[in-house]
Amino acid sequence: MTDAFFAMKAKATAAMTVLGELGIEYTVHTYPHDPRHGSYGAEAAEALGVPPARVFKTLVAAVDGALAVAVVPVTGQLDLKALAAAAGGKRAAMADVTAAERATGYVAGGISPLGHRKRLPVIVDRGALDFPTVFCSGGRRGLEIELSPADLVRAAGATVAALARL
């Protein structure tokens, strides 16, 4: 059993562990998650008082049957054709939630672009580069991490492409 469980403390998420191992500076923001809120990303932007264009959601899709991770602003919609092209495939569709949770190790609404259980390709929307820092899930609902877009791309081992329809 872990010390965190014994002490009933929340241990660092896999995303925070990755950032720590890489020595990347980031800021953790928490807020009380309201299960009645209809949108995890919009909830984060509202709770943290930041423009939603700077808050990025992590979506898991299946590209030609293989899972891939798209990181797009909460103000936009994922362009599945663009994702398929960026991932070097032909067809993309949103992944089954259970498959997404199993592959990433996170629960829906708390899926981070970082620290996945299985190695998945990550593609970050180009719009992230417009901001000095962006927000994305830290690996659980109600927990966001703020970091520079360059650090996000580096930590995720991501590629950058235009993925969002605004």
Binding site: F5, M8, V28, H29, P32, V107, G109, G110, R140
Partner: protein
Amino acid sequence: MSALVLLCPGVPGAPARNEAENTPENQELEAAFGRAIQAADVDDLAGVMQGVWGKSGATPEAMEQFRSAARAILNNGDLEEEDAPVFGRLGEIAVPSALLVGDADHPPLIEANKQAAAAIFGCEFTMVPGMDHLPPLRESDLVMAAITRTLARAGW
């Protein structure tokens, strides 16, 4: 400080094994704990905590305490810091002291509390039958009596 009454304290640095036993039941509790944290589910998290620390019963008051603790856990972010190991310094306590722990508390904590009481000179140790990790809720009279008794030893 004139006197010290400790209620089932955490004792960082105690020689007692500070881990829960690796039983199937505890493994399931730990997995549920992780799931509830990821989902930020206050009620689920409180339920897991009650299974570990609130074995005397899921009364409304107890569950509200656990929900309050759950909200704190979820909002700690990365601010949580390790407690300093203090066991080796317990012998420095030079005031009348008492330590209460219940036999329904988390077993590793009970062992650490026994060791802590033995390490504090003159500490009055009380094991309370049936009490879990919520002494003021479960046994408020015993807690008050321990405080009064210990203060009396300090000349109050």
